[in-house]
Assembly symmetry: C2
Amino acid sequence: MSIAPVRSVSSVPPAPPRGRPRPPSGNAVTPTRTSRTTTSKPTTLRQVARAADVSMATVSRVLAGNYPVAPRTRQRVLRAVQELDYVANTHARALRGHATPTVALVLPDLRDEAVARIAQGVEEEATRNGRSCLIGTTRGDPERERTVLRGMRQNGAGAVILIGGGAQDPVHQEELATIAGSLAAAGSRLVFCGRPAPDDATPATVVEYDNEGGAYAVVSRLLVQGHRRILFLGPATGSTTAAGRLAGYRRALADFDLPFRPELVVGGGLGRADARDRLARRLVGGSDFTAVFAVTDNAASGALAALREVGLSVPDDVSLVGYGDAECATDLLPQLTTVHVPYVELGRTAVRLALGLTEGSVSAADQRALLGTHVVLRDSTAPPPRRRPT
Amino acid sequence: MSIAPVRSVSSVPPAPPRGRPRPPSGNAVTPTRTSRTTTSKPTTLRQVARAADVSMATVSRVLAGNYPVAPRTRQRVLRAVQELDYVANTHARALRGHATPTVALVLPDLRDEAVARIAQGVEEEATRNGRSCLIGTTRGDPERERTVLRGMRQNGAGAVILIGGGAQDPVHQEELATIAGSLAAAGSRLVFCGRPAPDDATPATVVEYDNEGGAYAVVSRLLVQGHRRILFLGPATGSTTAAGRLAGYRRALADFDLPFRPELVVGGGLGRADARDRLARRLVGGSDFTAVFAVTDNAASGALAALREVGLSVPDDVSLVGYGDAECATDLLPQLTTVHVPYVELGRTAVRLALGLTEGSVSAADQRALLGTHVVLRDSTAPPPRRRPT
DNA sequence: CTGTTAGCGCCTTCAG
DNA sequence: CTGAAGGCGCTAACAG
């Protein structure tokens, strides 16, 4: 319904490569494959060699540039390369042992903002190191995850980076451990990036961020401002991420000698809609809190909507904080105080560690990193109002 | 400052593959490589053959499963494969001509929501067709774009999909045309996905969405509601995307016999901050419009902020519409009326077309598609107020 | 400086 | 049913 192929134009027959106006072809042999209408295979080294009237080795050397070649010869070769529009075949190269292995990236869904940020970091660092980057999505399905991982291994990935939505399933974790082993045995590396890794015996790399610490920090901030009854809006269990944030919340409370009140944990998922609904329901009997710690910026967005619906103003009546420093945090009104997570750096670090490029690091065996998080102060918090709002 | 490697744990030495408790190794030859601590190369077909005491050909056949093999032999082979944790080398396969070529994806930045959606579509459709998906980012730099494209070609990509931020630079477009030619000559395909393509003679595939039509539709909606002075918030030039949306805006106006008023075009970029600033500045002398068509949902978000700042309410005082149906559209309050763009489908279609999988299509030569857009009605529009707001 | 040779790991005829 | 052999495209020793 929303798709409508409308035009269908030109059935362009694959034209010959349209290089610059072909320079007069010197003393090169007949260009053999000047215009081919059939879907032909790409030019090979041999063809170039023939065209330039040299051996394949010479061509290879000219291209590699790591070996002396007579200037005249080089010219001829270069011209032939241009003319035939030659590019070396990566697979053959790899087979011969001369290709830099790729970096593989396995994730649930690219549309997730955090995932996309990590992916961006991975890609940047990979290309910065001359590796290309293979990507595979799993939709959070453990079975697909294994399938994809296997595929990446076949591809001879030099590092496989796993991000997002780790299943708690111990069986699956065991499988992952096995895969990590295979990878490690082949000189590669499985990286758990921002998600829980199997037991410590597994030869895997782990890159995390200080999830609990961030939660501790924002909640402390609320406490310092004078809030005493702070809602935890998010699941108490099920997701490692949420669990860590809850832990930070509790620790902050404890440090202020406040008891943990289970009735202030609202539950729900990580998303916006769920948060909104849960909080709205909670709000029907009036509010018994002065601040909300949403497990996620999206959840915070939902919370804001719910609060608005019942006429509660943020931050005048209720303070609100989120987690993740998503884009929506600045779209909201008021702009959201939240915890910044260095997602892009997470991705970069994953690649560096896996590839053994930890510059400045003493031991190349550091296969574990924990990046810091920090609070971003914006406009959604204030000291609690004098009279508790009805 | 935001990064703080904190812990550095276990220097796990690459352990041997931890397969299930190794089954008693039948009559297989000594497993040769049972525990290796050095970073060794992956198992080869030959090793499996030796272990199973058969020829390489037989192993190959068992694995391919397309040729009769004695059950007993197959068992032996399978066991050896398991034991040695063998996976075929993709490069060798590719070289031999038996690998499905990959799909390459070239884009400016994964963090862009629209880009991420298209990428997701591409990846899904690619794996649905058994292709793996290579990704490369360009940061919008034409030179990097060319570099990356070259790399993809070397990789023997079966299709190269180019998305986002096309540079207007004619020189670069010419280069792209050349690359498209090379690709086509090698039986591959360059796809321009949601971005302008070079001249029609170029052997490229083009997948677009009805950009102008979407703009026409939303603006018409505003006009129907009675709005007569509608601000166009976005650049009048520079970006093909913005230009198309402006064109739709103008056509809608024309269809209502309204003149196009250049003073209602505010200018600015596609982003939030710019939109906010521009509109705020515009607003100092009061508002001479009853509705705003923001070129982008992000721009709309900025507009909303600017309007709020001067005490104008949406949609009571001013109606607001965006474009793109981004996630933030539903985060805003009021939720934003906008134009939905089928980004994911765009990606899928790109792959289908490039790979020649256009099911149901008559001519396999359709190398051009235009997907429809549609308005998503939410809460940010209303009929204009009686008295024009000051 | 340049050419010849020998594989990288796999698949696929062609013979047994 | 199974094995031996050749070669995909490229590069790295070795000779010239």
